[in-house]
């Protein structure tokens, strides 16, 4: 328990430090000293970060090799959980009915509660299962078989009660977690407002302190709240007036635990959605809801960090969820492809159908590898900040999931399009993955900018010297560039004497190393060219993020399959095949993207793309005349 708390403390401080960093030396002396105290606490924590260092051309192989493992006891434990859950989902969950009726039947919910799935990560002291991130990811694979249930559970525990779990004090935990863990109370996360998606500044819900100072009065409305219709406990973010050091009054965001029993809470009509129809999404309105002051999560005015921590921590599991879904789809479609005959040939004999299965297998393999690598990193003592990695897992798996479900549907052709088969439901359900928990576009920005900020801090001095005409630095960079263009062979220690990658994956490892080296010089070039104005170059940042995601995916598959060969897992040769295929593919994609990144916007088509969009948006319509129009 106390260990858990320590984890949280160091984690939140880390994020806190990142938040405060820009202001250090300007106004806040106090947090700085505060921070240093905290730093001394976590002397043994590792400060290494894998993805960020890729921006500098460093490949911290210790971080990702060998592939994280769980102990035999843990494996046994998780298998104990997995079997009944799998049985429940196969036998007692009627996804078709849930989708049709847009409601999860109470008996299904009760079953989930009995299995303890409402408190997977709640510590055992509070009546939860107390599972690690890795084990949570494993359960996520099965839960994802029904989108509605997965989203309901995620809204409950990945974001709904997470605030209490990671930032709440002892009393709050003791009061709320036990009931939440058993599912007696359901949680919801209320952040989004009509006028504010990811824009914290435009949150309008207000919490005003009552005159006696014991309660806050909450006023405002929140939209798209999963579980909003029946949640008993809600994490609500609202503006509060805070008096800062200078005695000025400022509006800052605070997080509150709000019980439905506090009164003044009304839920709107459930939204009629494209997918995940069984999950409840609605508007929640607060009208003079009286919230006691002790229900503030963290400190007053510190809600922003809480929100960010919650959002950053929940994403990694989407990789395993996507993989679980695709694995199921492969089974379903393979059955069909191997029995259906066309032109006296089985469907599975056609190259284009085979390609679809290869795509699905590759995607499932990569998602799985990334998800468990990230979960393993998060489970390590010291808790390095894995939000970047988690975001990458989310982006890759949601994009890949959409493609794979579409391909699976395509295998069945017209049949897949009907409601007789579950494919259309999967297609609808998995579309939400690209949208919620931060849209993929926003996460790509997060991935690229976080890395750019990190690399920029390190490289600023060097770039400035180069700009001021330091010949030595310029020559050094020229030399690096020359070496790359000539040889393009970089040795970052993945193979060879101290190599961590198995010999059968040597080529792929070389490709990764080459990409990493190329990437670092590209990043340097970008920082030289754009400096801090790169924030506005979204098309460039998108490519940077894509390259990084590909490189992280390559790392994950290399690490995983090296381990599999080394310990002799069943079918490890297939893993090697998948890993090599994926790496070769990703290598080419990365090279293309980075070549584009080194060009100016008129050359890599970015300028044109922007211009097209501008002209269309100016007219707010398709611009061209109809091809049948005449002037003569």
């Amino acid at each position: 328990m106390s260990l858990n708390r320590l984890f949280f403390l160091s984690n939140s401080l880390k994020v806190g430090r990142r938040l405060i960093r820009p202001q250090i030396g300007q106004t806040r002396k106090e947090p700085l000293s505060h921070l240093q105290v905290q730093r001394s606490i976590k002397t043994n924590s590792r400060n290494l970060a894998y993805a960020k260092d890729l921006f500098l051309g460093k490949l911290n192989k210790d971080e990702v090799f060998p592939y994280p493992e769980i102990t035999n006891e843990e494996l046994e434990e998780i298998n104990q959980f997995v079997v009944p859950v799998e049985k429940f989902f196969n036998e007692d969950v009627d996804s078709k009915r849930i989708d049709h009726e847009a409601k999860i039947p109470p008996e299904t919910l009760n079953g989930l509660k009995e299995l303890g799935l409402f408190g997977i990560q709640v510590p055992e002291d509070y009546g939860g299962l107390g599972l690690s991130n890795t084990m949570y990811a494993r359960l996520g694979e099965i839960i994802s078989l029904d989108g509605s249930i997965a989203v309901t559970l995620a809204a409950h525990q990945a974001i709904g009660l997470k605030g209490i779990l990671i930032a709440g004090n002892e009393e709050q935990k003791a009061k709320y977690l036990p009931k939440l863990a058993t599912g007696e109370n359901v949680a919801a996360f209320c952040l989004t407002e009509p006028g504010s998606g990811s824009d914290a500044a435009s949150i309008q819900t207000k919490a005003t302190l009552t005159e006696d100072g014991t309660h806050y009065l909450l006023n405002g409305s929140k939209i798209w709240i999963s579980n909003g219709g029946f949640a008993d406990i809600m994490t609500v973010f609202a503006r509060t007036e805070v008096v800062d050091k200078d005695g000025q009054k400022k509006d800052k965001i605070s997080a509150f635990i709000v019980e439905r029993a506090f009164g003044g809470i009304t839920s709107g009509k459930p939204e009629d959605k494209l997918g995940i129809r069984g999950s409840n999404t609605c508007e929640v309105t607060f009208e003079d809801t009286k919230v006691p002051v002790e229900n503030v999560i963290g400190e007053v005015g510190g809600g922003f960090k809480v929100a960010m921590n919650i959002l950053n921590s929940g994403r990694f599991s989407m990789g395993s969820a996507g993989a679980g879904m695709i694995k199921k789809l492969i089974e379903l479609t393979a059955e069909y492809a191997c029995t259906r005959k066309q032109f006296n040939k089985k469907l599975s004999d056609f190259g284009m159908i085979q390609e679809k299965f290869a795509t699905m297998a590759l995607n499932a393999f990569v998602m799985e590898s990334m998800a468990y690598l990230t979960a393993g990193m998060m489970d390590r003592p010291g808790l390095p900040d894995c939000s970047l990695e988690a975001a990458m897992v989310k982006v890759f798996s949601s994009d890949g999931g959409w493609v794979c479900v579409s391909e699976a549907l395509q295998v069945l052709g017209g049949l897949g399009y009907t409601k007789n088969y579950p494919y259309e439901r999967y297609l609808r359900d998995c579309r939400i993955l690209l949208i919620f928990e931060g849209t993929n576009e926003i996460l790509r920005m997060y991935i690229a900018l976080t890395g750019m900020q990190y690399a920029g801090k390190v490289l600023t001095g060097k770039i400035k010297e180069m700009k001021s005409g330091n010949v030595g630095v310029a020559f050094e960079i020229m030399g690096n560039k020359l070496r790359q263009t000539l040889g393009r062979h970089q040795d970052l220690g993945l193979t060879g004497k101290d190599g961590v990658v198995h010999a059968s994956l040597q080529d792929s490892a070389k490709q990764l190393e080459e990409n990493v080296a190329f990437f670092s010089s590209t990043v340097e070039g970008l920082l030289y060219r754009f400096g801090k104005s790169i924030v506005d170059e979204q098309l460039i940042l998108k490519r940077v993020a894509d390259v990084l995601i590909n490189m992280y995916a390559m790392t994950a598959v290399l690490s995983r399959s090296s381990r599999s060969i080394s310990i002799g897992l069943r079918n490890h040769d297939h893993e090697v095949l998948l890993a090599n295929t994926f790496c070769a593919d990703a290598y080419f994609k990365n090279n293309l993207l980075m070549t584009q990144l080194q060009k100016n916007s008129p050359e890599n088509n970015d300028a044109n793309i922007k211009k097209i969009a501008q002209e269309v948006l100016e007219k707010r319509a398709y611009v061209c005349s109809h091809p049948l129009e005449r002037t003569l």
Binding site: P22, A200, D251, L449, T460, F530, G531, K532, S533
Partner: protein
């Protein structure tokens, strides 16, 4: 000489081609005139030549008359006047396309040889706008049809070289010029007529070709086209004009008052003018941030030309905020800084600027001007009317109640003043209650404005 003969012959045969091609159309378009129907044979060419000679004779008779002497000139003028008369007489009852066509028909039937057709065409061109047919392609074709067919077609290379029948060609070019001026695109019928009248490579046909080459290319050159037919209703016209000036798709047009006539108890007729305003959300938020101690101004009238119509508009604007008064907006680093977005940093904490190589922006010197908060068009440009607009604006912009409003109205165009004089309501007593209220508000605002001025 033999070779020259062959050449001549060849030319004649070539001359024939358009005739053969348009033989059918000739039959339709050209009822009188030519006494023969050419066919493809050498004898026919001979016959043709004979006719041609007679044509020349004709020309020799007419052309000098047009160019010689004052006396002759006066005669020509007289002829023009005569044609004008024809139109005047026809247009007495009704000036319409039908009457115009009738005049052309009368001319066509009056004289088989179509004497004085050039003068007639010039007169017709001049009269077209009067009859409202200046944008009608069928009328232009009808005018071109007045030319006698085939007589002006050059028969040999010498004629072709030396601008055959220049007056007629110039006249036809003038017709095409006028079409161009009014943006009328010649059609296939025009082409057929011109070829019949002047031959394949004559000046009018070349003019036709140039027009058809460039016209379609420039047809949509104006990104802000004005329709030929402007809305009749003043409210609709104001709506259109304001949207055109604002050029902002978010801008909201509000009709503050629709025009109506009212009869008071004393029997006086009151005509209330229309008031139509436009304001965009951006302007609204700008106005909300306006410092209430500084006045806003109602300025105008400013002209806006829509083809031949001129309309006037008024703006509600503020003076440029002096730099020392600019309120520095408080920026909360948590709200606007890197952490405004819950998901990604909005700016990077780096000490690096954009390199010159990737800076594709132009250096533009921006000159700041006072903000324009709203625009309106009204049937009358007097202060009372505009004050009604301001009070209408106040409903969506409550801050206007605190800001002094100063009217800086120019005397404006005379015709506007005239209408103002005649349509001005007799007094505030006769006005509706709402009007009275708004008047009072205006006065107060005006006073406030003066106070600030002092």
């Amino acid at each position: 000489m033999n070779s020259a003969h062959i050449l001549l012959r060849g030319q004649c045969v070539r001359c024939l081609v358009p005739y053969v091609r348009t033989a059918v159309q000739q039959a339709v378009l050209f009822s009188g005139g030519l006494p023969h129907r050419p066919t493809l044979s050498s004898t026919c060419v001979q016959v043709h030549r004979a006719v041609h000679v007679s044509c020349r004779y004709n020309k020799n008779r007419t052309v000098p008359s047009a160019f010689k002497g004052n006396n002759e000139d006066a005669k020509k003028e007289k002829a023009l006047v005569a044609h004008d008369d024809l139109f005047e007489r026809a247009g007495k009852d009704a000036k319409s396309k039908a009457t115009f066509n009738k005049v052309v028909d009368i001319f066509n039937h009056r004289d088989k040889r179509r004497r004085g057709h050039v003068e007639f065409i010039y007169a017709a061109l001049k009269k077209m706008p009067e009859f409202g047919v200046e944008r009608d392609i069928t009328v232009y074709n009808k005018i071109l049809d007045v030319f006698p067919k085939e007589v002006f077609v050059p028969r040999n290379y010498i004629q072709r070289m030396f601008y055959h029948y220049p007056r007629q060609q110039d006249c036809a070019v003038e017709v095409l010029e006028q079409m161009e001026g009014h943006g009328v695109m010649p059609n296939v019928e025009t082409k057929v007529l011109l070829i019949q009248i002047f031959g394949e490579k004559s000046q009018p046909v070349r003019k036709y070709q140039r027009t058809t080459y460039w016209f379609p290319r420039f047809k949509h050159a104006n990104p802000f086209p004005v329709p030929h037919q402007l809305p009749e209703d003043p409210v609709d016209l104001s709506r259109f004009s304001l949207a055109r000036i604002a050029n902002d798709r978010d801008a909201q047009v509000t009709v503050y008052q629709i025009p109506y006539t009212d009869l008071t108890e004393t029997g006086e007729v009151i005509e209330e003018p229309h008031i139509v305003g436009i304001q965009s959300p951006d302007q609204q938020s700008l106005l909300a941030k306006h410092n209430p101690n500084r006045p806003v101004f109602v300025e105008g009238p400013y002209p806006l030309w829509l083809r031949k119509t001129c309309v006037y508009y008024y703006v509600l604007k503020a003076d440029l905020v002096p730099p020392e008064e600019k309120v520095k907006e408080y920026i909360d680093p948590e709200m606007v800084g890197p952490e405004q977005s819950l998901y990604y940093p909005l700016w990077l904490d780096l000490d690096l600027q954009r390199d010159m190589g990737d800076d594709f922006s132009f250096k533009v010197e921006n000159l700041e001007e006072g903000a324009v908060y709203a625009m309106c068009m009204a049937g009358q440009g007097d202060q009372a009317t505009l004050a009604r607009w301001i009070s209408g604006l106040q409903e969506t912009n409550p801050i206007l109640g605190q800001i002094p409003t100063v009217f800086r109205l120019d005397s404006g165009p005379t015709e506007l003043q005239d209408t103002m004089e005649s349509q001005r309501p007799p007094g505030p007593d006769a006005e509706a209650e709402h009007g009275m209220e708004s008047d009072r508000v205006t006065e107060e605002e005006h006073l406030g404005g003066q106070r600030v001025k002092q």
